[in-house]
Symmetry: C2
Subunit: 384 residues, 2 copies
């Protein structure tokens, strides 16, 4: 069935900012869309044809939603994967597949997958419960420091903690987890790989996450990454290897570390449009959102080259502000060259909540970097 | 009142393809939108916050809709301008203003406006009724050939006819009209001027309409126009002069003829996003739709430069096809480099109906022109 058929319906699980940007592209192609989200205030509530309120982790809710559509995709990994599997068996096209998602949802399974496929990744140990870690330490099977990661439902920094002493373990949930070697890395890199149903593959350029020198937080996503060609080639090759191993349909964002010895280690992947690809909207011939649609609808993939250099700055809620959001100085940054704010439409801000992002494009990457810093120092997400 | 206020509402008169592309940009900025359109199947029906069905030419309907919003704009000129005037008096911000629209709505008034402001335009005569033209011809006051234009509600080629003999007058409506000298032109050019509430002005590059050598129909909008720098400068200057004369807020698309002697004559203007600016979505730092929003919301204007060369091909219904639309070979063109189709979402096709457009971008304009020709010869808008 062609997506041009008047009966075609695309389903999206999750109605947040990624879904919203995906919906924008569906409008361009006039694709009929249905969205399921738990919140009546989801950014996707407008711009889709049918909106359903419901729990993405509930089998019956996801199954019944999936039965309404022809192709089902998701903008968030925390969805009921058993329902996706049943839907696939009943002929609904689920992209990425339940198999891909199941492997990725559990961080221990994901790490084992890399080992099985000979994909370089940081050394790790797997534990059924956090409480087992103390035994491993007393046995000498595990040394400080390490990175504790919850196996399930870790998302955007939740469920991750650097453990340097036994005390750091105290407040962690007693759940399935991994303990991963800390990698002293030069750069955190990412590559988005797109793959359509018939198996065509195109990769976006390598991007670099630039960290704040003190706060150790990602401040800028920079495209292209300011790295040697050989390193970029290696990162691209490894991203492709990961993509081939998953045999996914849709986007696969592959996050990697560049070690001090210029080794590339895979950190984790996301089978969907990703924060590291937002600059593609303004900078690339084909945005990651359009590309995801092309991939899951089995259309030809678009050109992933950049028209210009692009930098992305996240807009997160400032500390000390809760309530109705206010974007202080947004008009000032809109007066800067090549600056486009994207406001996600969440009504309430709270500290560190992702409220939007700003893209800075320029023919010259260094110029874009300068403007990005001014943007970062100017706009502030506060409350009324 | 800032558009970031949670109470701010933007109203759009008209829910067609221009409104749809404008709505896409409002989503990025999270602007609350209300749309009024006569059709329940309007492309804008989704992606706005509130949709109202009603007659755009009815005073009471437009007035009551306008009272709900803070800023009112339109995507089509055929709206009730008396209602706009009343709304302005009652404190609603209407951009472009009723005054600008009133001058433009009537082609005779528009032509007189150019004369009054010393703006070069083709010679013309004004008639209260088409029937008066015959008298003018017998008196020797008017010679064949000339271009007959209905003063009111001429839109997209309707209400325009080349008159070469007395017989050509026969089927024309007996209405207020002008008879305009035929201009043997080298090129049809256009410049979009943007002006915000506080009076900042930025112009887009000059674009060129390339005509089919036999059919005399616009085939491609080409940005930048392949003309001498001096001619481009002259076109920009005249467009700015027109913009200054109107003192408009929002976009003003100025269509011009480049005569055989490289004179520039203003043909007509549109106070809104325009067909000659669709390529800005992919080719420019700021799309015309984003720029229109920035202008009417009194935000800083964006950069109007191009990232890459852009060409636009209209997708109109093929002759001989009526009914449920089908975009034949759309997947073939999506496999070409730098090609993005925009489907407007009209369910039914009929001959020459505007159903969408395709943008072709490339660093090299000649390369883009080649791809555009292949696109034009490949895709066909037919019925199921």
């Amino acid at each position: 069935m062609s997506y041009f058929s008047s009966n075609f319906k695309l389903g999206i699980l999750g109605g947040g900012q990624l879904g919203k940007m995906l919906l924008n592209e569906t409008r361009k192609f006039d694709i009929y869309t249905c969205v399921l989200d738990a919140s009546d205030e989801a950014p996707c509530k407008i711009a889709c044809n049918e909106f359903y309120k419901g729990d993405l982790l509930d089998y019956k809710t996801v199954y019944e939603f999936g039965k309404k559509v022809d192709v089902l995709t998701f903008e968030i990994e925390n969805v009921n994967v058993d329902a996706l599997e049943t839907l696939e068996k009943e002929g609904i096209k689920v992209y990425p597949s339940s198999k891909t998602l199941r492997t990725i949802q559990n961080k221990a399974t994901q790490k084992l997958f890399y080992l099985d496929h000979n994909i370089p990744t940081a050394a790790f140990s797997r534990f059924a419960y956090t409480s087992e870690i103390e035994d491993a330490i007393s046995n000498g099977g595990l040394q400080f420091p390490f990175v504790w990661k919850s196996a399930q439902f870790g998302y955007d920094g939740n469920g991750v903690k650097v453990v340097r002493t036994i005390d750091d373990l105290k407040d962690l949930p007693n759940t399935e987890c991994i303990a991963e070697a800390m990698i002293p890395f030069k750069n955190e890199l990412a590559v988005i790989v797109s793959r359509n149903v018939k198996g065509d593959i195109k990769t976006y350029p390598v991007v670099e996450m630039e960290f704040h020198p003190e706060a150790n937080q990602v401040e800028y996503v920079i495209c292209p990454a300011r790295i040697d060609k050989e390193v970029a080639k290696k990162a691209q090759d490894i991203a492709l290897k990961v993509s081939n191993a998953f045999n996914h349909v849709g986007l696969l964002a592959v996050e990697m570390f560049q070690t001090k010895d210029d080794e590339i280690l895979v950190n984790e992947v996301a089978p969907r449009p990703h924060n590291s690809g937002h600059q593609t909207i303004e900078a690339s011939y084909t945005s990651q959102f359009e590309q995801h649609l092309r991939a899951i609808l089995n259309l030809p993939l678009g050109n992933t080259d950049s028209k210009v250099a692009g930098i992305m700055v996240n807009l997160v809620g400032a500390e000390g502000y809760n309530g109705n959001v206010l974007y202080k100085n947004i008009e000032t940054i809109m007066d800067m060259n090549g600056v486009t704010p994207h406001i996600y439409g969440k009504k309430q801000t709270r500290p560190f909540r992702k409220m939007g992002h700003v893209t800075i494009v320029n023919e010259n990457l260094n110029e874009a970097r300068k403007v990005a810093e001014t943007v970062k120092n100017t706009i502030k997400v506060i409350s009324e």
